[in-house]
């Protein structure tokens, strides 16, 4: 067994790298939207409860598992969990700690590349003099490999490759020379940029630069508490989900970083420091920037509909570049660079953490050199990521995100806590956790870890599996209930597929209820547009566009009312389900492939021991 000598250079370097791992797009783009949609200021109550009962304990678990593994020279979860659980099954559960990171990194780097591209466009002034509609169109066209408003051919692929190259370069420099240096410079810079943007956002004055209301109105909108929402289980699950994603738990990267901590070094204080640093960035900065700027310039009503229709990513990429221009050429460009630069730093410090377990696995178990391991990791990320770029609109991106970025995390986190508290044993685990601690951790956490956190995680996993349709919790009964199309069971059953449920078909059916607007000529060809007429007011006015290629024949005319399942086009179609199914098969194959690689590595290890 080769015990690696690599360690973190300093304690603050470790804390910043861990904080950089946790601080991601979700802090700035997901948190404010979740808060607004789940009771405004009242959301903070379940959010903080989940942070204390689930977030902090999970940080303790993952840091402990990591440092424990480092004692034996293990840096990836399959072998650490095998060592703790003493059964081969834990080794294969640990595979999730490599699988999730590889898959999430593949599409996360794509989002990261959007931010890099938007930094570039803010500098060269692409957004100058564009209308809001044109800025939104620029983002939509970005995903079309052939057409971009900026004039750079294959722009999305080029920026993706550039992002990967930066990641590979930093990874090849190792822990101290690469990741730690980036964190030491990047995280403070991110906080400074965040503070500048937040101050600028809240100081927006009605009437100045075309602002409709004061920026503080945005904070009023986000923080006004609707206490009745606290009785809705949906709000509590949303809070638990947000804590999960924001702390980057259930992935396997915290364990990997923690495995490089010296054995006589504290983990209790450091884990709390990273957890609260992340919360500061999320609540204070993330909760301020996006909403205060957009409400200031657009007013409350417009932003309310944007929140439900576009979400955080839509507001950030389709609206903010337009709003920044209102501050004038220089300040507008600076704010664009600051905002997308901040997102880029948040992204890269997280993607580096995702790639490290893979690099470590290759180094530890296949004796691959650091640089080579970084290049192999980058290539693997590229191979996994290319389908998300080429078939972005066909739903491959979302499919990756669902299975690797949501379902796997819930499962893996649940299994880790069971391993920590019940299999390895809370007595041993607590001793391991508090060893060399720089603070006294309240003993209550021992009992929270033993009972409350495992129960919470089991409930969350079961909820993700059997969530009722439309999040209607009153529908749950002993006789059964209809599961939501976004639940794991609903996904497995194909409830989210709709009427175009065959891979190849001669007829295309409408998957919305609405009125046909007619054939509309767009940048990349004609489309048949249907305006939704759903009773659900959120969907009202949403336009669904179906590409109308030359060889297709439209079966409906303008102003026809169509329902879900009405035939709208004839021709030879490859339905979205084809791409989604291939993505699923690919993910299964990838998991099996990684398990096999782990099996081979384990055999080699045990032969050496014998």
């Amino acid at each position: 067994m080769s015990v690696k000598k690599e360690n973190w250079g300093s304690k603050i370097g470790l804390v910043l790298a861990m904080a950089g791992n946790a601080i991601g797009f979700g802090n700035f783009l997901r948190f404010p939207i979740q808060a607004i949609e789940n009771g405004g200021g009242a959301f903070i109550i379940p959010y903080l409860v989940c942070f204390v009962l689930m977030g902090i304990p999970l940080l303790f678990v993952e840091w402990t598992i990591g440092r424990y593994g480092g004692k034996f020279g293990f840096h990836s979860t399959p072998f650490i969990m095998n060592k703790m659980g003493r059964k081969a099954i834990w080794q294969y559960i640990g595979v999730f700690g490599i699988f999730s990171n590889l898959v999430i990194a593949s599409y996360y780097c794509y989002i990261e590349s959007w931010t890099l591209s938007y930094v570039y466009h803010s500098i060269i002034g692409t957004f100058r003099d564009l209308s809001q509609h044109e800025v939104a169109a620029l983002f939509n066209d970005y995903h079309n490999t052939n057409t971009t408003l900026s004039g750079i051919p294959y722009e999305n692929i080029l920026f993706y490759l550039l992002c990967l190259a930066i990641n590979i370069y930093i990874l090849s420099k190792g822990l101290r020379g690469g990741i730690e240096k980036v964190a030491i410079w990047g995280v403070p810079l991110l906080i400074v940029l965040g503070i500048i943007l937040a101050i600028k956002g809240v100081s927006i004055q009605e009437g100045e630069h075309g602002a409709v209301v004061n920026g503080l109105e945005g904070l009023n909108f986000l923080w006004t508490p609707h206490y009745e929402s606290l009785w809705d289980p949906k709000v509590w699950f949303a809070a638990a989900g947000q804590i999960f994603f924001t702390l980057s738990v259930g992935m396997g990267c915290i364990q990997c970083y923690a495995s490089y901590i010296r054995q006589n070094q504290d983990i209790a204080l450091s884990s709390l420091a990273t957890g609260f640093m992340n919360e500061f960035v999320e609540i204070v900065l993330g909760g301020t920037i996006l909403i205060s700027i957009s409400v200031g310039f657009f007013g409350l009503e417009t932003v309310q509909s944007m929140v439900s229709e576009e979400g955080g990513f839509g507001i950030a990429f389709q609206t903010l570049p337009f709003l920044f221009q209102k501050w004038g050429t220089f300040l507008g460009a600076f704010m664009g660079v600051a905002f997308f630069g901040l997102l880029f730093i948040a992204g890269i410090t997280s993607s580096l953490a995702m790639c490290t377990p893979i690099v470590s696995f290759l180094q530890d178990d296949y004796n691959v050199q650091k640089k080579k391991a970084a290049i192999i990791t980058g290539t693997a990320v590229l191979i996994c990521g290319i389908p998300t770029i080429l078939f972005f609109k066909e739903g491959v991106f979302d499919e990756y995100d669902y299975w690797a970025g949501t379902a796997s995390l819930f499962f893996f986190a649940m299994m880790q806590v069971i391993l920590f508290s019940w299999v390895f044993g809370i007595r041993k685990s607590w001793k391991e956790f508090t060893r060399a601690a720089d603070i006294r951790v309240p003993l209550i956490f021992k009992y929270i870890l033993l009972y409350i956190t495992p129960i919470l995680l089991i409930v969350i996993f079961l909820t993700a599996f059997f969530k009722p349709a439309q999040d209607d919790w009153s529908a749950i009964s002993l006789r059964g209930w209809e599961v939501d199309k976004t639940s794991i069971l609903g996904k497995i059953k194909g409830k989210d597929v709709g009427p175009n449920n065959e891979w190849f078909a001669d007829t295309l059916y409408s998957d919305v209820h609405g009125r046909v607007l007619g054939v509309v000529q767009k940048e990349d060809g004609p489309y048949l547009d249907i305006a939704c007429l759903n009773e659900n007011c959120l969907m009202n006015g949403y336009v669904k566009s179906y590409p109308l290629k030359e060889e297709y024949q439209s079966l409906v005319c303008k102003d026809t009312i169509v329902t879900i399942g009405t035939p709208i086009m004839a021709g030879s179609f490859i339905n979205q389900i084809f791409y989604i199914s291939l993505a699923r098969y690919f993910l299964i194959l990838l998991f099996v492939g990684i398990s096999f690689a782990v099996y081979i590595a384990a055999r080699k290890k045990y032969k050496k021991v014998k």
């Binding site: 300093s10 304690k11 603050i12 804390v15 405004g40 200021g41 903070i44 903080l48 503080l216 109105e217 904070l219 009023n220 923080w223 006004t224 508490p225 504290d266 204080l269 450091s270 709390l272 420091a273 609260f276 640093m277 919360e279 500061f280 609540i283 204070v284 720089d438 603070i439």
Partner: protein, 31 residues
């Protein structure tokens, strides 16, 4: 801003910032 929102926002932000600073300073001291 309405007073309820202001009080809630101010107390939560102070709490979170306070804890973050407390732990970071402690880490820096124990370096």
């Amino acid at each position: 801003m309405n007073s309820q929102a202001l009080i809630l926002m101010f107390s939560v932000m102070t709490l979170v910032t306070g804890f973050a600073l407390y732990y970071i300073i402690k880490v820096l001291k124990k370096k």
